[in-house]
């Protein structure tokens, strides 16, 4: 029964993600399609559901596991106010991104990126007075509270939030403090971003490049592309072909050049 519970915990943690992304999130260029055999998962789920309906302990255990998953995300997104006092806003913000697994680029310096074990070089503490220019937070678990730390980086020019499963419309409404400096933003593959969140990007007047490809929650990608282009006239909006609804063939996904190539 334990492996059933563990299996469901994984399913439960993915429950918060849009139903399209069953299983591990693969490349952003694959839309839809079942990744794991559906029948097996469905059968496991009904036994578990049966047990949950009949036994309070099973229900309480599953509830507890779900709460623990949510708590873990909150832990990752706590505010580093002490670090901000010690090392300044740029250091605290950079540390937050690196801890989550993203990459940071200080002005006139190289990209700093954690390795596969999550370790990163501590030398950036030395140049914390240098503002952070670019952040690549792809596949990170940043949510609304975590943006507290990200918004410390007042002179950020390029932000990539690709495939962040907890970034939703509320988070987008919080990006307006970066309006003066932000020039590049990528939201490709975020499962919770919809056109309502994209509408509040109108604050970002200096945006030059916006990537909105592969957003499963957007109901009409072609129309959204046109509206966003109208909303931000100086910005190059990438990712959706507005004639998509008219074409009958498979769409081409453009190569994303915003994220840095790992060394």
């Amino acid at each position: 029964m334990w492996d059933l519970v563990l299996e469901d915990r994984r399913i439960n943690s993915l429950r918060l993600v849009a139903p399209m992304w069953n299983g591990r999130i693969r490349g952003i260029h694959r839309l839809g399609g079942a990744v794991a055999p559906e029948g097996n998962q469905k059968k496991k789920r009904t036994i578990l559901q049966l047990l949950t309906n009949y036994f309070y302990d099973v229900e309480a255990l599953r509830d507890y596991l779900l709460q623990r998953e949510m708590y873990k995300v909150h832990e990752k997104n706590r505010s580093f106010t002490w670090l901000e006092k010690q090392h300044g806003p740029y250091g605290a913000g950079a540390f937050f991104i690196l801890k989550q697994g993203g990459a940071v680029k200080f002005r006139d310096k190289e990209w700093i990126r954690p390795d596969k074990y999550g370790h990163f070089s501590q030398e950036f503490w030395n140049f914390c007075v240098v503002p952070v220019e670019a952040v690549d937070a792809s596949d990170c678990d940043i949510n609304y509270e975590g943006l507290d730390n990200l918004l410390l980086l007042k002179e950020l020019q390029s932000l990539s939030l690709q495939r962040c499963s907890h970034v939703d419309d509320w988070c987008l409404s919080r990006l307006y403090p970066l309006a003066d400096s932000l020039q590049e933003l990528s939201l490709a593959g975020c499962p919770r971003v919809s056109e309502r969140g994209l509408a509040c990007l109108h604050h970002l007047r200096n945006l030059r490049r916006l990537d909105i490809s592969d957003l499963p929650a957007v109901s009409n990608p072609g129309l959204t592309q046109i509206l966003v282009e109208e909303m931000l006239p100086n910005c190059e909006v990438v990712g959706v072909d507005w004639a998509e609804g008219l074409k009958s063939g498979p769409e081409e996904q453009p190569q994303d050049t915003a994220s840095p190539v790992p060394a």
């Binding site: 949950t52 709460q67 309502r196």
Partner: protein, 454 residues
């Protein structure tokens, strides 16, 4: 050979008479009888309520700790927080009585669903801020195992308020209060406004306030269903019925100044079933009045307002159903006749005559505006000061109010629900202090005016 035999047999079968198929004779309804016997056996087996004599499954339970009258967003919010804040699992038994399970006339479903922090009272701003954070984390608060996550369809677009010369000072002081409480509001001059929104005609505008975060609109029906689902999973009972009577007892007591007061206590609530005369007396400890536009009727049933006018006994609950906010409004010259609140008919001419001219003046692109559809809903309008009534009644000791919000009940529901639950369980407001919203202000005449009514 078989082929020749079969039709022969069939033919014989058709011709012979079987007992019971004779016309006008006794016919055995096997299927009906079998299902009845199955039902009886199932009811005897353990795990089912054994009610061989009478089926009372449609009636509410005979005892309940808290009875919440009204199953809209406020009632469900109170139920949710009661269950969330109870000291141990299953401590409080809650029953929600809702007259109409389709919510066809309930203000919640018919609401626009806006949420805004631009109020002048700090309590209203705090309630709105908490509700915004509740909605943001709704899938953590209202998570039910095996149920799909809720999609509130929140548009974080913000509210823009425009002020003329004479109201600019008031707007500035309001924004100061809002910022102190924690709302993110930005003030804009007419030039900045034109820069940001070039499609607005800024003639006559001296100042504008724009909500940058946590403001917008969402789907109230989704919130209602999410609350219902979660509250049912927490063990709250629902009942479709109407409250027709309160059985209460009174006690004559002396105040410290030796004045006689009559304190009432409600013991039973009579819940009448839909389309029948059957009713169930539910014995309860606490009654929460969250009946929205019809709260005054529930209050009258409890005897609130039966006394000489001008006394505490004679103070009625000043909440009535209204379809339009008609407060003295110098900007819009509204005709002051109130639309008849007896039905939910839409007055289509009102928009054309009164609202559209102002819209077209402010936003020139709206000159070619055409109304596609319209619907009407009720405000639980507080005629005293258009703010909510929260907390216990001073004389009817166990009736708590959560009503009268006059148009911002939906956006303050999570905060108010928590406040009422704290009042019931702990005896005082713990997180947001809503003491200015108690019932006693109607008797004392202390109006808490909210200047920015939306």
């Amino acid at each position: 050979m078989i082929r020749r035999v079969l039709p022969h047999d069939l033919g014989r079968g058709l011709l012979t008479r079987r007992p019971g198929t004779r016309r006008g004779g006794f016919s055995l309804d096997w299927d009906g009888k079998v299902s009845e016997i199955k039902k009886k056996i199932k009811s005897i087996l353990p795990g089912r309520s054994c009610d061989l004599l009478q089926d009372t499954s449609h009636l509410p339970p005979e005892h309940s700790d808290v009875v919440i009258v009204g199953g809209g967003v406020l009632g469900l919010s109170v139920a949710y927080w009661l269950k969330k804040l109870e000291s141990r699992r299953g401590a409080i038994r809650v029953l929600v009585v809702e007259r109409d399970h389709t919510y066809s006339q309930a203000s919640t479903g018919l609401s626009v669903g806006g949420i805004c922090q631009q109020f002048s009272l700090p309590e209203n701003i705090q309630l709105s801020l908490f509700s915004a954070s509740f909605l943001r984390n709704i899938n953590e608060y209202l998570a039910v195992v095996d149920a799909p996550p809720l999609d509130l369809r929140f548009s974080p677009s913000g509210y823009l308020l425009l002020a003329s010369e004479k109201d600019a000072a008031a707007m500035e002081s309001n924004v100061k209060v809002q910022r102190q409480v924690g709302a993110k509001i930005s003030l804009m001059s007419p030039d900045q406004l034109r820069n940001k929104f070039p499609w607005i005609n800024t003639e006559g505008v001296a100042l504008a306030s724009y909500g940058m975060e946590d403001e917008g609109w969402f789907d109230p029906w989704c919130l209602l269903q999410g609350l219902r689902r979660k509250v049912q999973s927490l063990g709250v009972l629902f009942c479709q019925g109407e409250v027709t009577r309160f059985v209460s007892s009174s006690q004559r007591m002396l105040t410290t100044d030796d004045k006689a007061v009559v304190l009432k206590r409600i013991h039973k609530v009579h819940v009448k079933m839909d389309c029948s005369l059957e009713y169930q007396p539910v014995e309860c400890a606490i009654v929460v009045n969250a009946a929205g536009a019809w709260s005054a009727q529930i209050a009258a049933l409890a005897g609130i307002g039966e006394g000489p006018p001008g006394t505490l006994q004679g103070t009625k609950l000043p909440v009535e159903p209204r379809k339009r906010q008609c407060k003295p409004c110098p900007h819009l010259s509204l005709q002051q006749e109130e639309p008849d609140p007896a039905n939910l008919e839409v007055d289509h001419d009102f928009f054309q005559d009164n609202v559209w001219p102002h819209l077209a003046l402010r936003i020139p692109a709206f000159e070619t505006l055409k109304v596609q559809s319209a619907w009407a809903g009720y405000y639980d309008y507080n005629t005293f000061d258009q703010n909510g009534v929260v907390g216990p009644h001073p004389l009817v000791a166990n009736m708590y109010f959560a009503t009268g919000f006059s148009g911002h009940g939906l956006q303050q529901a999570p905060g108010v629900g928590r406040a009422v639950a704290e009042m019931i369980l702990k005896g005082r407001f713990q997180t947001i202090d809503l003491s200015p919203f108690l019932f006693t202000r109607f008797y004392l005449g202390e109006k808490i005016q909210e200047n920015n009514i939306i």
